[in-house]
Symmetry: C2
Subunit: 669 residues, 2 copies
């Protein structure tokens, strides 16, 4: 309980740490110049599209009280605050699914009790309480316990969001079959049914169309076809582009079809009278009865808990140690700031924003100084020169290190430590010949450190763009709602790969004789290290727990308690699970990090092999290994899960096991 005795210690430390590099956060961008616009645009689209979709969901669930302009405004305001005053400027904020669910419960409760017109005022009170709780959590250094939320909670929560997305998509498409709320159509009453039915069928086509095409282009970066630039463009901007394409297609209707078909986003424009109420919601807050003001504490606890969890995890993911960030973290200070932002949003009648996944790690990733390829090429060249000159491996490493230092522009602290793995990999070929021929490319691919362009400009610019999107509402309103339902389904399915809970559920359906198919490809390390019966036990437990959590969300008002099981899971994980599972099994299944093992027979990523693979296609002309068109982003794609987690790649599982024998003498061998 050290953290209770030293209030504000974390916040103060964070603040001091960040103030030291604050100036650099702004100035560093100058050297990047216009190139910063690429990650800015990338993260803007990745961030704005879900916010638009959530706005539509919110609109439907709150009878239009809050909708897309409000979610966009909240995202923009909080993003700008975070970019300017935030501790970790890589953290992306936005209105996220938990907020939407919470506001759904708040609205349905308020509508039944104090009336829909006071709902936003009451939500304001909830935000005040939430802010207070967040202040307390920040002050008493609660972020130090974030590590007790293990993978099992994160994955369960991720799965819940996935299922809620899918539910939203299905509900959305079904609702399209009921009469469109459009005056034009309602007039010709006799065709009411036909047009509703046409609208429904169109919505099936548009939503499935968006879903399938979006899933197809997801892997664009690793396609064989097209130039690198095109593939990167499709991979980075493909989904927003598809929304545009499907929206354009939705206008290719015969003229007989009334304008309300297909149904499009319905919301007042932000400068229309109906929308302006939000800015004066603070005046209504006094009208909320005192009892309700205090009752607001219950949802506030849930929201504060969710935000504490979500915000910290998003921040953590944006600062994974593999990104090698040079600036310090600021969990405590950011939580304090989140309290302020929640307060502001509450008083403005907007749904609050918090740190979002996977956009935050996506942001860091897009900023990874993608000189990786350049460094790599130079390093390989230098190493080969060394090899030709029969230099010792220590000398070769020296040359590689020199390249690395030379290619770094900012001052480097711990280069030795970062290059330690590479050094070891290079030097071990001196010691043992067992490991095969020394291949500098292989070593570099596996061990070259990542560098990130840490600054505040990209976050600020993207938030400003989100703010400008509020003014673009007339354009946004052209999107058919069915395209957004498709987008929900896409978000759901997109979030599954890399979720080990999902991977394990799938594994249960793989008959024993087919499991070699799993171990043949890349797979998380638990697949090989944990006996199957424990995988089954653990997964069944998790699935039961998940069903319970999902069940709770269906309870009308008490559903607001749905985060409770996740908090409970901390003590279940700490006190109950160890009674049923051996320590090492729990460690593997509930590892803090994602560890991936290279399949035995498909060492696809080892570029080194490709050079040797001569013949007509590659040998023609003067193609050397430098000509292989593999972008750094493509490599990063391959080593990141959909949650934005970096996978730790064990080249050989058996090797690792061999190392483990000595310290652990583990029984699983």
């Amino acid at each position: 309980m050290e953290q209770l005795r030293t209030p504000f210690k974390g916040v103060v430390n964070d603040f001091k740490g960040r103030i030291a590099c604050y100036k650099k956060d702004w100035i560093d961008t100058c050297s990047t110049g216009a190139r910063i616009l690429a990650p800015t645009a990338y993260i803007f689209f990745a961030s704005a599209l879900p916010v638009i979709a959530f706005g539509e969901q919110l609109s439907r669930e709150t009878d239009g009280m809050l909708s897309t302009p409000e979610t966009l405004a909240s995202t923009a305001i909080c993003g700008i605050i975070q970019a300017i005053f935030g501790g970790q400027p890589l953290l992306i904020l936005g209105v996220a699914e938990p907020t939407i669910i919470m506001y759904n419960y708040l609205y349905s409760f308020a509508k039944k009790s104090i009336g829909a017109q006071l709902c936003l005022a009451w939500a304001g009170w909830v935000c005040i309480w939430t802010a207070l709780l967040l202040f307390l959590l920040a002050a008493f250094n609660a972020c130090t316990i974030i590590s007790r939320f293990t993978r099992v909670s994160g994955e369960l929560f991720g799965m819940l969001i996935t299922v809620l997305f899918l539910q939203e998509a299905i509900k959305g498409v079904i609702s399209e079959f009921s009469a469109p709320h459009d005056a034009n159509v309602l007039e010709e009453e006799e065709n009411q049914f036909q047009w509703s039915y046409v609208n429904g069928l169109l919505s099936v086509i548009f939503s499935l169309g968006l879903l399938i095409t979006a899933l197809k282009i997801q892997q664009a970066r690793s396609w064989r076809y097209g130039s690198g630039w095109m593939r990167s463009f499709i991979a980075d901007y493909g989904v927003p582009l598809l929304v545009v394409v499907w929206t354009a297609l939705s206008y290719c209707m015969p003229h007989e079809v009334p304008s309300g078909v297909p149904r499009r986003l319905v919301c007042p424009l932000p400068w229309e009278a109906e929308s302006l109420y939000h800015w004066t919601v603070i005046k209504d807050m006094g009208k909320v009865p005192a009892g309700y003001v205090f009752a607001a504490f219950i949802p506030a606890m849930m929201i504060a808990g969710l935000y504490f969890f979500d915000h910290s995890v998003a921040s953590q993911m944006a600062q994974q140690k593999e990104f090698n960030l040079q600036n310090p973290s600021a969990y405590h200070y950011d939580l304090l700031l989140l309290g302020f932002m929640t307060l502001i949003c509450g008083l403005l009648g907007l749904p609050p924003s918090n740190g979002v996944l996977p956009q935050s790690p996506m942001h860091t990733r897009s900023l990874s100084v993608l000189k990786r390829q350049m460094i790599r090429r130079k390093m390989v060249k230098r190493a080969k020169e060394g090899m030709e000159e029969q230099a010792s491996h220590a000398e070769i490493f020296g040359r590689m290190q020199a390249v690395f230092l030379e290619m770094q522009h900012s001052a480097q602290h711990n280069v030795d430590g970062e290059l330690a793995n590479l050094k070891e990999a290079v030097l071990q070929h001196d010691r043992e010949d067992v490991c095969g021929k020394f291949d500098p490319e292989k070593c570099i691919d596996l061990y070259l450190p990542v560098r990130v362009n840490e600054q505040r400009v990209s976050n600020l610019l993207q938030s400003v763009l989100v703010g400008l999107a509020v003014c673009a509402m007339p354009v946004i309103k052209m999107i058919p709602t069915s395209v957004l339902w498709g987008y929900f389904a896409y978000m759901a399915i997109d979030s599954l790969p890399g979720n080990q809970f999902w991977d394990r559920i799938l594994l249960l359906f793989v008959p024993r004789g087919r499991r070699f198919k799993v171990t043949e490809g890349f797979h998380a390390s638990f697949v090989q290290s944990v006996p199957f019966k424990y995988i089954v036990k653990f997964t069944v437990f998790q699935a039961m727990y998940f069903l319970m959590c999902f069940g709770i969300t269906w309870i009308p008002v008490a559903g607001i308690m749905f985060p409770v099981p996740f908090f409970l899971l901390i003590s279940i994980r700490e006190h109950v699970l160890p009674k049923f599972f051996p320590r090492h099994v729990l460690q593997e299944l509930d590892a803090a990090e994602y560890e991936e093992v290279l399949g035995y027979s498909s060492s696809r990523r080892s570029l080194s092999l490709r050079r040797e693979n001569g013949g007509g296609l590659l040998d023609e002309g003067d193609a050397d290994e430098g000509d292989l068109d593999v972008s750094s982003a493509e490599i990063l794609d391959e080593i990141t899960t959909r949650r934005g987690e970096l996978k730790h790649r064990s080249v050989s599982f058996n090797e690792r096991q061999r190392q483990m024998i000595i310290p652990e003498g583990s029984s699983q061998l």
Copy 2:
């Protein structure tokens, strides 16, 4: 011109050869018992579904003069004749796309000149001429020149059919947007547009739905999930099953939707008065003016050419040497029989059938005595025993050979020759240690000969089933036409992989830096052996030629000449192409056989590796290599192209190249 001097030599030889094993063809089935029903059902569905789809296409293009009952009847009659009297009983007959196209031209010509009511009579004359030409071709041993149709013609023709299928699918779906020809709907004229539009949208959903799901389940056999039985079932019967599923879904309409939406197959039932005309068409043949009788010779030449080509290639594919058939071929005799069948169909007013691809090789494949797995397991066991006893490799091979002989039920002629590769593979490990550890499984996987259950029962039964399907027309009529358009698109896309012309077109779009992605996986051998500029030149030539052929099909009446360019291609290939391409390049690009190279880094198929890939999943329990759930059909799937060609797998391209240096001193090295 040897073959012109010895008329009927081929036919007589074929007849003698087949009569010798005729009794065995029937009796051999007895030992198989009910198990013969599996390939029968498999090939029945694979054969009946396209025939139904072609019937619908024919019906649309001949204004309902001919439709599904006629195509089914022709397929059944010809199939039964082939099964009982045919030379090669493995050959599957059916009404195929070329016939449909020809009948389309015949109808459009006849309608404009002698009138639609005499069309079938005139088509009867065309069939008489065709039969005559086929008799002549058979008599003068024309089948000996079938080898001069090289890969380039076959692929061009395959591509043409693919594009025509796609065109049919697209035209079909578009036509669904025009008013449904249904009395119920026409009555309520004011909703005419709405219901047509609903019908169109439904057809988009059903056709794309069938297409996407069918493409998904295509690879079912190699899925990780589900038991082997289930996967095989889905892979074998998935597409007909999907037609049933989508048909069932098409009945899940709200009751407000009129019965004509979605549109379903329209054709008179075979026992209704309208259908009975076909059987008396012979009476009308005398009414055809003499000029037209002789004019019928022109389409007859085209049809005879197409049939000669198609029938022989289908037969060839069903008897590829890798299937190791024990009974002799009967190309000449089968062509003669085809003439008779064409005559019968023409006189009955039915569209004639001919040998079909890929059903014929599918049939042989399904009959491959799938003891492969059993033989393999036993052989591996015996080999391992040998290895443990430190026996010499010659001795180990002796034991493996003994197993093989013991597992064969019928008398074996040339087992030594067939096992030669295996022998060499086993023995070479004695000679050179360079090739790595001796692994009996690897050798067996690569070199175990295939055995086929050669008999006449499966073909007879499946033809009878097709005949019974005529009686099931009331059920077949429940299929929405849009599902059939989706099926056309599926047939088109399904036929592309393995077509080297298509592979090469795709290759043109792979930028140089990405070509390693092609060589990484399995790929046809030309990819590595032919310089890229020749691949480009050859492919562009082929594409131009293809566009010309496709263009010809669009010419209203003269389009009937579309097979001419394919016949011309023989002499272009023999006399023109060698002037532009080096001999070895043409040999590789236009190889008679499909040769596939193992990608350098993805040796997925080598099951042997899997055993070594231990760990939690596989080591648990007493899993030995025999437990791996890889069915023989799955292995066959992997080594067959979509055309039904068996791929010749070169384990290492470089090795083959090394062997080639000596005889050829080829310049490409």
